[in-house]
C-alpha cells in the first residue's frame, strides 16, 4: 500500500486513515503477554540513524520486532560512517546485503529522498533536517483521533519554533489533509518564510488562541535558537509563548496538551502542564509504536495477505 514514506504530503486522506485504522488493530499487541505477531517474519529492517535519537530509534526497533522482522541498528557512531563512508556507499552496501526496508534519520533535509535513488529497499523517513518527520505526525494524528474520535473540524494550535521543526511541517500537512483547522503561534522569527501559503492561521498571541482550541500542541524550543537571536531569552519566551498553569486553566474543557518530546520543562511547557490530566504526551509515545508497526506492516507485509487481515 505504501511504497516509500518520505513526507506526509505523499499520503492522501484515505491512506492516512488506513494507517491509523491499522494502528488501532495493532495497538492491542502491546497489552498481550507475548508482544509479537509473525507478520514480518523473514523481513529485514535497517535502522540507519545519522542523528542522535533515543525515542524514535527505540520506537522503530520495538515496532519492527513486535512484527517479527529482523532488525539491524546502524548508527553513525561506531560504523564506517565515522571512517568517512558516504551515504551513497552505505546505501549501496545495504542494497547489496538485501535489506527490505531502511528507516533513516538524518540531519540533512532530503537525505531519505536521495537514498531512494540508490536502493530498492523501501525507505521510511524517521526525521530529516527541518524537512519532515512523517511517523511523528501520524502518531500525533492517531493520538488526537483516539481522544476525539475524529480529526475533521478540530481546532489545533501549534505553538513554538515552527521554523526549525520537521514535526510542525509534517503535522500541519497531516492535519490539513484530514480537515482539521490549524493555527500556528509563535514569534515572527520562528515562523518560517512563506507560511502564509500553508492554509493555516498565524498568530503571535497565545492568549488570543487558547480559549478556542481542542488541541494545544507545543514544539520544543532549542537553546541555540536564543544564541542565534531568534528571541532574547528563554525567560521571555516562557512568559509570552510558554504554557504554564494559568494558561493551562484557560484551555476549554476537554482540550488536550501535546508535545513531541523531548520537552524543555520551564520553557515552552511548565511541569504543571506537562503532567496535567489532559496532557497526552505519554500516550503519544506508546501510540508511536503502534503507528510505526502500522507503517512497516503496510510497507512490507500487507501485500502478502490477500484478505487484508494481519493478525
Amino acid at each position: 500500500m505504501i511504497n516509500d514514506l518520505l513526507a506526509i504530503s505523499d499520503l492522501d486522506a484515505a491512506q492516512i486513515g488506513r494507517i491509523l485504522d491499522t494502528a488501532d488493530g495493532l495497538k492491542d499487541i502491546a497489552l498481550r503477554p507475548i508482544k509479537k505477531v509473525p507478520v514480518l517474519r523473514g523481513r529485514t529492517v535497517c535502522n540507519l540513524f545519522y542523528e542522535d535519537s533515543t525515542r524514535t530509534r527505540i520506537s522503530f526497533e520495538l515496532a519492527a520486532k513486535r512484527l517479527s522482522a529482523d532488525v539491524i541498528n546502524f548508527s553513525a557512531k561506531g560504523s564506517s560512517v565515522s571512517k568517512g563512508e558516504s551515504l551513497k556507499d552505505t546505501a549501496l552496501t545495504l542494497q547489496a546485503m538485501g535489506v527490505d526496508a531502511i528507516v533513516i534519520r538524518h540531519s540533512a533535509s532530503g537525505a531519505p529522498q536521495q537514498l531512494t535513488r540508490w536502493v530498492d529497499a523501501k525507505v521510511l523517513n524517521a526525521g530529516d533536517g527541518w524537512h519532515q518527520h512523517p511517523t511523528q505526525a501520524l502518531l500525533d494524528l492517531y493520538t488526537i483521533r483516539d481522544r476525539f474520535g475524529r480529526l475533521e473540524g478540530l481546532r489545533v494550535a501549534i505553538i513554538g519554533d515552527v521554523f526549525h521543526s520537521r514535526v510542525a511541517r509534517s503535522l500541519v500537512q497531516g492535519l490539513t489533509t484530514m480537515g482539521a483547522e490549524v493555527t500556528l503561534v509563535g514569534p515572527p522569527t520562528l515562523l518560517p518564510p512563506g507560511v502564509d501559503s500553508w492554509g493555516v492561521t498565524v498568530s503571535h498571541d497565545v492568549d488570543e488562541v487558547l480559549g478556542e482550541i481542542d488541541v494545544c500542541y507545543l514544539l520544543r524550543v532549542q537553546q541555540e535558537r536564543m544564541d542565534e537571536q531568534f528571541f532574547p531569552s528563554s525567560r521571555e519566551y516562557a512568559r509570552i509563548w510558554g504554557i504554564d498553569r494559568d494558561r493551562l486553566a484557560r484551555l476549554p474543557q476537554g482540550a488536550i496538551v501535546m508535545h513531541p518530546g523531548p520537552m524543555n520543562r520551564g520553557v515552552e511547557i511548565s511541569a504543571d502542564a506537562a503532567d496535567a490530566p489532559n496532557s497526552v504526551i505519554v500516550e503519544q509515545v506508546s501510540n508511536g509504536i503502534a503507528v510505526r508497526m502500522s507503517c512497516l506492516y503496510l510497507m512490507l507485509g500487507a501485500e502478502q495477505r490477500a484478505d487484508g487481515g494481519f493478525l
Binding site: S86, L87, K88, H106, S107, A108, S109, G110, A111, Q113, Q114, D128, G129, W130, H131, Q132, R166, R169, P192, P193, G194, V195, S197
Partner: protein, 475 residues
C-alpha cells in the same frame, strides 16, 4: 604560419563593428586579413553558419593549483575552447590562493602549454581570501592582472573594500566582489522562500545579495572606482545596477546561464547538481536577469564554471559544495533560451548575445585582441557555430574533468563548429583539436603549401571540414 583560408557566405556577427551581415572573412598568418566579399586561400563554405569574435568568460574556476581532481588549467581551457571561448578569467580561489605573482605565472604558463584558450587570471583582493589584508596587487598587475576578486568569499569589511577599490585605481584595475552579506547567509542552502520552508533547507535571502551590491555601488561611486558585480541573481540586484548605471557609477555586471535558465523548483529533487551560490532563484528573478541582459544593465554572460568531482556532488544536499559547470553549454543556452527564434521575437538579438558573450566582457576587463572588431589586422580569435544545430548534453562527454552540469540530457540548439585562437584551430568540426596535430598541420602546410589539411566543403573531399554536415545532426 597558419595557412590562408576564407569563411565564405558566413553570417558575421561582430558587435564591436556593429555588423551582422553575410560576408566572407579571410584569415592568414593568425590574423584576420579581409572581411569583405573577397576570398583567398582555401574556401570554407559557411552558409547558414555564424562567425563571431571568440567568446570571453569573465568568471571561471579552473581549480589548478590545488584541486586538480576537479579540473586542471588544461582540461578547463579545453572545455572553454569546446564552448567557443578564446579567453577566460580564472578566479583566485585556488590552493595556494592566487594572491601573489607566483600563482599568476603558474596559471599563465599552464594555459600557454595547453594552448586551448588564453587565460587572464583574476588576482585575490586580500591575502588568503581572508578579507583582512590587501594582497600585493602591484606584483600581479605587473603580470597583466586587471581584476581582483575574493570570489566565493565576500570582502565583508566595508573599510577593506573601500581601500581595495581606491588602491586598485593605481592601475585603473577592477574590483569584483562576491555579493553576499555573510551574516545573513550562515548555513544557507537555497533561495529563501516558500520552497526552502517546504523542503526544510536553510534560506539564502535575496537581501543578502542586494545589501552587498548596494554597499559596493555606493563605495565605488564615491571613489569613481571600477567595480564589477559577479553572478547577479535577483530582480532587486538588477534594479540596483540599473539605477547605478543611470547615475554614472563605473560598474559592470554579469549573469550566469543558470540564473537565466533555471529556477529553485529543481531543488525539490535534492540533487546537489542544482546547488550553486548564489542559489537558483524564482521565475520572476530569471525574468529580471533576462531583462537586465536585454537592456544592457547586465553587460556580460559569465559562466561561473565551477567543477566538482562526482564524489563531492553525490552527497547529502547540505554537505555538497556549490557550483555548476558552464563553459561547454553557455553559448547553446544563450541561443536556445535568449535568442530563440529571431523572427518570432526573442530576449536578445544575435548581436546582443554575442556582445554579452564576447564584446562586452572583453571591454569590461580591458582584454585586447578579443571580443572584436573582426577587421583586417585583428588577431583571428573567432568562433564559428551553427545556430540551428541541435545536440544533447552528455555529462560524460565533456572536456571538463568533472560532470556536474545541470543540463545533462537536455537538448540544446547551437553548436560550436570551429574555435580559432590566433588563427589556429583549437576546436575543429566540433572536436578538440590537439595542439600537436595543429602544429603538425602547420608543418605539413608549410611543406605542401597547402591549407592546414582543410578541405573545402564544396569540394566534398574526404576529411577536415567535410564533416560539417554531420554537426547539424543530434548525436
Amino acid at each position: 604560419m597558419t595557412a590562408e583560408f576564407t569563411f565564405t557566405d558566413v553570417r558575421l556577427v561582430d558587435p564591436a563593428a556593429d555588423r551582422d551581415e553575410v560576408t566572407n572573412v579571410t584569415v592568414a598568418g593568425g590574423i584576420v586579413t579581409a572581411t569583405d566579399r573577397s576570398s583567398a586561400g582555401l574556401r570554407i563554405d559557411c552558409a547558414g553558419l555564424v562567425l563571431a569574435p571568440g567568446l570571453v568568460d569573465l568568471h571561471v574556476h579552473l581549480r589548478e593549483p590545488g584541486r586538480e581532481d576537479a579540473e586542471t588549467v588544461a582540461s578547463g581551457t579545453a572545455a572553454a575552447a569546446m564552448g567557443g571561448f578564446t579567453a577566460v578569467c580564472p578566479m583566485a580561489n585556488t590552493d595556494p590562493v592566487t594572491d601573489h605573482a607566483g600563482v599568476v605565472e603558474q596559471v599563465l604558463r599552464l594555459a600557454r602549454e595547453a594552448g586551448h584558450c588564453e587565460v587572464f587570471p583574476v588576482g585575490a583582493v586580500t591575502r588568503g581570501l581572508a578579507g583582512e589584508e590587501l594582497a600585493e596587487m602591484g606584483a600581479m598587475a605587473a603580470l597583466g592582472v586587471r581584476c581582483f576578486s575574493d570570489d566565493g568569499m565576500p570582502v565583508r569589511s566595508a573599510q577593506v573594500m573601500r581601500r581595495a577599490l581606491e588602491y586598485a585605481k593605481t592601475w585603473d584595475a577592477i574590483i569584483c566582489n562576491h555579493a553576499e552579506e555573510p551574516t545573513l547567509t550562515g548555513g544557507a542552502e537555497m533561495n529563501e522562500g516558500q520552497l526552502s520552508t517546504l523542503l526544510g533547507l536553510a534560506g539564502w535571502p535575496r537581501e543578502a545579495e542586494e545589501i552587498m551590491i548596494a554597499r559596493d555601488l555606493l563605495l565605488a561611486h564615491g571613489l569613481n572606482a571600477r567595480l564589477h558585480v559577479p553572478h547577479v541573481s535577483t530582480a532587486g540586484s538588477v534594479a540596483l545596477l540599473r539605477q547605478a548605471k543611470l547615475r554614472g557609477t563605473r560598474v559592470t555586471a554579469e549573469a550566469a546561464p543558470h540564473h537565466f535558465t533555471l529556477t529553485e523548483e529543481l531543488v525539490r529533487t535534492y540533487d546537489p547538481v542544482y546547488r550553486v551560490n548564489p542559489p537558483l532563484r524564482t521565475r520572476s528573478d530569471v525574468e529580471a536577469v533576462r531583462a537586465g541582459l536585454a537592456d544592457g544593465t547586465l553587460d556580460a554572460i559569465a559562466t561561473d564554471h565551477a567543477p566538482h568531482p562526482p564524489e563531492q556532488k553525490d552527497q547529502e544536499w547540505s554537505q555538497a559544495p556549490n557550483g555548476m559547470l558552464g563553459l561547454e553549454t553557455a553559448l547553446a543556452l544563450t541561443l536556445t533560451e535568449l535568442v530563440g527564434d529571431e523572427d518570432a521575437g526573442s530576449v536578445l538579438s544575435m548581436k546582443q548575445a554575442i556582445a554579452a558573450l564576447s564584446t562586452n566582457p572583453a571591454r569590461s576587463r580591458d582584454i585586447g585582441g578579443h571580443g572584436g572588431p573582426v577587421e583586417p589586422g585583428a588577431p583571428a580569435n573567432l568562433v564559428l557555430f551553427d545556430p540551428a544545430a541541435r545536440w544533447t548534453v552528455d555529462d560524460r562527454a565533456l572536456q571538463s574533468r568533472s560532470r556536474n552540469t545541470p543540463y545533462a540530457g537536455m537538448q540544446l540548439r547551437g553548436r560550436v563548429i570551429h574555435t580559432l585562437l590566433r588563427g589556429r584551430f583549437t576546436v575543429r568540426d566540433g572536436a578538440l583539436a590537439p595542439r600537436d596535430a595543429a602544429e603538425a598541420d602547420r608543418m605539413q602546410s608549410r611543406d605542401a603549401g597547402e591549407a592546414d589539411g582543410l578541405q573545402s566543403r564544396d569540394a566534398g573531399e574526404a576529411d577536415g571540414l567535410q564533416s560539417l554536415d554531420a554537426v547539424e545532426v543530434t548525436p
